[in-house]
């Protein structure tokens, strides 16, 4: 029996889909298509808050991702760090994911020398602390949680912590995260210290943070790889995210087409069945 087109349209082999995905995402990487990039108000707001900070302000940046999510968050972290360093802000990286410290170390090795940033004076890396929400809550009493940096050097020996009393001395908290640390920061530190929080993170956590953005508990959001590309454009420091945007757009178009195709087939098939049953 011949298959109807409705059935055929719904039963494309998964390997064909995989191969098509591979090609459709790869082609724009090899030959960029020049799709325009929309700058969202959220990214613009995040950029403006950071850009307005005076030189020497102290920024705490949470590093809450590992290799599973670095594809979208690592370009964000680089874009944010480049902006911080170009403005002469002092940065303290605090890993909130067991793999996060390796990325903070990569900033130390790759980015800091380009901006003449000296470890201990202009930036520092704190050790990872396990425990999720309680670990963030413990930051409210800073020295109960942190006494040494990631290398084991006492914080009192690092010039960046000279005169640092606790979180009340922090001008801004930013994140690069695939987890819930942005949420925990908004829940445990923002109410007590009223520190502005700008969230950079995986696209998947953005809808969850919407209520906190609307209520003002979070000031700005940079969302996923697209957010990283927008930030690179705004800070006029291009990185790897901009080059990926055509592939992202092509992938989105492909998935939207597949959803529509699947549903067209599904409707046609349902109609044929109803007609056959005489309904």
């Amino acid at each position: 029996m011949r298959r109807s087109w409705a059935t055929a349209v719904q039963s494309i082999d998964r390997r064909v889909l995989y191969a098509l995905t591979f090609v459709i995402v790869l082609l724009p990487l090899v030959r960029p298509l020049g799709f325009p990039l929309n700058i969202t108000p959220n990214t613009r707001r995040a950029f403006e808050i950071i850009d307005a900070l005076p030189e020497g302000s102290l920024v705490f940046h949470s590093v809450g991702f590992d290799p599973s999510g670095d594809a979208e968050v690592w370009p964000q972290m680089q874009a944010l760090s480049r902006h911080f360093m170009s403005k002469g802000l002092r940065i303290v990286y605090f890993p909130t994911n067991v793999g996060g410290d390796m990325y903070a170390e990569a900033i130390r090795a790759q980015l800091a020398p380009k901006f003449g940033y000296e470890y201990g004076r202009d930036f520092a890396i704190l050790p990872f602390k396990a425990g999720g929400a309680p670990a963030i809550a413990a930051m409210a009493d800073f020295y109960s949680l942190y006494t040494v940096d990631r290398d084991g050097t006492p914080l009192s020996e690092l010039p960046i912590f000279d005169g640092f009393r606790g979180m009340q001395d922090v001008s801004l908290i930013t994140t690069s995260s695939t987890g819930d640390d942005a949420l925990f920061l908004a829940v445990y530190l923002e109410p007590k210290f009223h520190i502005p929080i700008v969230v950079g993170g995986a696209a998947t956590i953005m809808p969850v943070l919407g209520p906190y953005l609307a209520s003002g508990q979070i000031k700005g959001i940079i969302s996923g790889l697209a957010g990283a590309a927008e930030y690179e454009v705004l800070s006029e420091m291009p990185g790897q995210a901009i080059g990926a945007m055509d592939a992202q757009s092509a992938g989105h178009l492909f998935i939207a087409c597949l959803v529509i195709l699947g549903n067209v087939g599904f409707f046609a098939q349902s109609r044929a069945v109803r007609r056959k049953e005489g309904v």
Binding site: K129, A214, V259
Partner: protein
Amino acid sequence: MAVGFLSGLIVILKYFAQEGIISRIGTDLIAWRVTVAAFALGLGAANLIQVHARAIIRREKNADSSFLLLATMAVFTVLGVVSGPNSAAYKWFWDNVYQPIYGGIASLLAFMIVSASYRAFKVRNWQSAVLMISALIVILGQVGLVSRVFAGLPSLSQWVMSVPNTAGMRGITIGGALGAIALSLRVILGFERSYMGGGQQ
């Protein structure tokens, strides 16, 4: 248990007592909790050792893979503890072994979501129609080319995100907070003990 009750109660009291002995004990308890959580990082590894050592001893079907897992774990644990995670050797293996495998496995999800979008995302009732329309607006709102043709799409996508999405998520957030508070109270008062592995007691 008394330990759970007392530690939970002190942490709650700390919230109201900003100074004094209760505040200091509460601060210490939270910091201790972080230390105990650091110990817990090894629990998964201990479990893996138990399961895979048994597989090797019993010469089960995939004992070779189990051996490879335990050998990898042993080598990198020694390397990380002795030379530190900042050492060049550890970083080299992180960059060239762990990162590509973990990132690669995560990227398989891209293929899965393509397949799922095509096969499972079907409009069967009005709820799934709303879900699909909302999803398509957000997906296409990110595509620069489409927004050139439909100029209002990025604004519509932004509106969906900032108004109805926020409203739905806010309802869930408030409901979730109520649930979290209720569950936490049950834990502190000892009504909830299933986390100990023995079920409701």
